[in-house]
């Protein structure tokens, strides 16, 4: 069972990035880390490969400046190797261009299963994994809250508005996972040391047969025209509870005629 996990390396959400207003894109030039949403996919893939009795977990990532720090985190968790597509021409890529880059890269690995997060923490477009599945000509099951593999099929509990559906799907397939599908492990010291020497195959768009007009800002069919401060809600009264603050809530609800 060979599994690819799509990993996005993003600016640290604890130190939110700024918008580049001229380009209308997020500044991603600082240090990047693995998107926390992807740690669930990495863990799930490692467990599925192990349960299948072997096989490799390969990471695929597109990032600026040959960034590998986020990939090293996932390699330290136990992934075997990584493919990184990085090039100046990729800056400003939209979700569809990103999916094209990932699809071409994944075809080289030829996995049985591709796992991705439902959406990234920084851009949260949430369309890339399904675009990827369509480009590969594969079925997809999104919003998985539980995954198992039996008889060459992936079985998924897929979230719905009212609960979940049990879905089964033959391989190869793309599955997107929600946070909570599994508890991600912390990389061990041994894992961190081993990750330093694991192979990261660095490619450019031309290596995978895409030309510069198809990717990056040149291939994006949309642009951000302005970024403005949102009208702020005026924050109201903030009171420290002295034992009777609950009465303020009662009064507030009475004024709204809700009690």
């Amino acid at each position: 069972m060979n599994i690819v996990v799509c990993v996005k390396q993003i600016p640290d959400p604890a130190d939110p990035p700024t918008m580049d207003e001229a380009k209308g894109t997020l500044n991603r030039n600082g240090k990047l880390i693995m998107d926390d949403s992807d740690s669930y996919g990495v863990e799930m893939a490692l467990q599925l490969a192990e349960q299948a009795g072997g096989g490799e977990v390969t990471l695929v990532s597109m990032a600026p400046n040959n960034e590998t720090s986020g990939l090293r985190t996932a390699l330290a968790m136990g992934a075997a190797k990584a493919v990184l597509i990085s090039d100046d021409t990729l800056a400003g890529s939209d979700a569809l261009s990103t999916a094209k880059v990932l699809a071409r890269s994944i075809e080289r690995v030829n996995p049985d299963l591709v796992v991705a997060a439902t959406e990234s923490t920084d851009g949260y477009t949430g369309t890339t994994p399904v675009q990827l599945a369509e480009l590969l000509g594969w079925p997809s099951v999104t919003f998985a809250k539980k995954i198992s593999i039996e008889d060459g099929k992936v079985h998924v509990q897929r979230q719905t508005e009212v609960g979940y559906d049990d879905v089964e799907c033959p391989l190869p397939a793309v599955v997107t996972v929600t946070a909570g599908v599994v508890e991600p492990r912390y990389p061990s010291f041994k894992g961190i040391m081993a990750a330093k020497s694991k192979p990261v195959d660095q490619l450019t768009p031309s290596d995978i047969g895409l030309d510069a007009s198809q990717v990056g800002a040149a291939g994006a069919g949309q642009r951000v025209v302005s970024v403005e401060a949102a009208p702020q809600r005026a924050s109201g009264d903030v009171v420290v509870d002295d034992g009777d603050a609950y009465q303020r809530i009662v009064q507030f609800l009475q004024e709204l005629k809700l009690v």
């Binding site: 918008m19 979700a95 569809l96 439902t118 959406e119 949260y124 477009t125 949430g126 369309t127 890339t128 399904v130 675009q131 599945a133 369509e134 480009l135 000509g137 079925p139 997809s140 099951v141 999104t142 809250k145 509990q157 719905t160 508005e161 009212v162 609960g163 979940y164 559906d165 049990d166 799907c169 033959p170 397939a173 929600t178 946070a179 909570g180 069919g221 949309q222 642009r223 025209v225 970024v227 403005e228 401060a229 949102a230 809600r233 924050s235 109201g236 009264d237 903030v238 009171v239 509870d241 034992g243 603050a245 609950y246 303020r248 809530i249 507030f252 609800l253 709204l256 809700l258 009690v259």
Partner: protein, 323 residues
């Protein structure tokens, strides 16, 4: 490029079009007088009166797709419409699980980008600008398509208000999906409903939500009790859904439901970006949190800094005394 037809994805559940699709039909008819809808399922034709009353002239019927996930079928049918004389200038889809699947596949089939997480549309002549919330609502970005039509937007629910017009039932037009290859091989084996009593989370007038600050799964019963006393619905932050304390169907936020109640009471929720996006539209916000610096207080009309384990029981008792 001139804006002509608009196609709205009319997702339905139990024979009723989702409110989020009705909101989009309402918006579509304010942009163009040529609005079509597309639906799938066993008895799609029965939706013709409803989508017609919201302004759709035609209802494209993909038909019964059995237990397949709808993404590949509906995307293929829309691609066929795009390649016909009925080609829309704009495609509007609600932010649902199935519509995200449909649009992802459609985007590849017709090689067009998608703009997602739309919280507003603004028309100026033949240009459409979409607005988007950034960084938990502190900034609003405006985006436009620069390439060929159709322009595809996935819109968050409650962006527009659904209002029926006096439209006649839509004309039902059958539309076939093309060859789907392996893409349609995922199928639903069984459905599971996690029941919830009281009003629906996204329709309730009062929403009481709990977060990590509750400290334990057991403490969520206070959230439920308070919600029940106020005839409201109980919600949750992503943190406690991910921890398995409550089912996903209660999650409020970016990856959960968008709520716009008269009053939203956040109990032990710090107010992460991903949560604020789902509840900032509430008319009134009350927050209880022990951390005075919690971001939730910056949007609260009434903020109580204190221990919710002290405050909530007193509040519940006081409300019981009043009812």
């Amino acid at each position: 490029m001139t804006i002509d037809r608009i196609l709205v994805i009319a997702e339905s559940n139990n024979g009723q079009v989702l409110p989020a699709s009705l909101e989009l039909l309402t918006e579509a008819r304010s942009i163009s007088d040529k609005v079509d809808a597309i639906a799938w399922g066993k008895d799609t034709a029965s939706l013709a009166a409803e989508v017609g009353s919201y302004g759709a002239g035609r209802l494209f019927d993909v038909g019964d797709i059995g237990e397949s996930l709808p993404g590949p079928h509906v995307a293929s049918a829309i691609a066929a419409i795009v390649n016909s004389e009925n080609a829309p200038s704009i495609i509007l889809a609600p932010t649902t699980y199935d519509c995200r699947d449909i649009i992802g596949r459609l985007s590849v089939k017709i090689d067009r980008p998608v703009i997602t997480n739309v919280v507003g549309l603004d028309q100026e002549g033949d240009a459409i600008s979409s607005s988007h919330v950034l960084f938990g609502g502190s900034q609003i970005a405006t985006a436009q398509f620069t390439g060929k039509m159709p322009w595809i937007f996935i819109v968050r629910s409650k962006t527009f208000t659904a209002e029926p017009s006096s439209g006649q039932p839509a004309e039902v037009v059958g539309i076939q999906a093309g060859d789907l290859g392996a893409t349609a091989n995922a199928s639903i084996v069984s459905h599971h409903v996690e029941t919830q009593s009281g009003p629906k989370l996204d329709e309730a007038d009062v929403v009481v939500s709990g977060g990590r600050g509750l400290g334990s799964q057991e403490a969520y019963s206070m959230v439920e009790e308070l919600a029940e006393l106020l005839h409201g619905a109980a919600g949750a932050s992503r943190a406690i859904v991910d921890s398995g304390w409550v089912p996903y169907s209660r999650q409020v936020g970016q990856t959960g439901k968008t709520v716009k109640p008269t009053v939203y009471i956040a109990c032990g929720i710090s107010g992460a970006t991903q949560h604020l996006v789902g509840m900032k539209g509430a008319k009134n916000i009350i927050a209880i949190n022990k951390d005075q610096e919690a971001p939730i207080f910056s949007v609260a009309d009434l903020g109580i800094v204190g221990d919710l384990h002290q405050i909530m029981p007193k509040l519940i008792e006081a409300l019981k005394g009043l009812s």
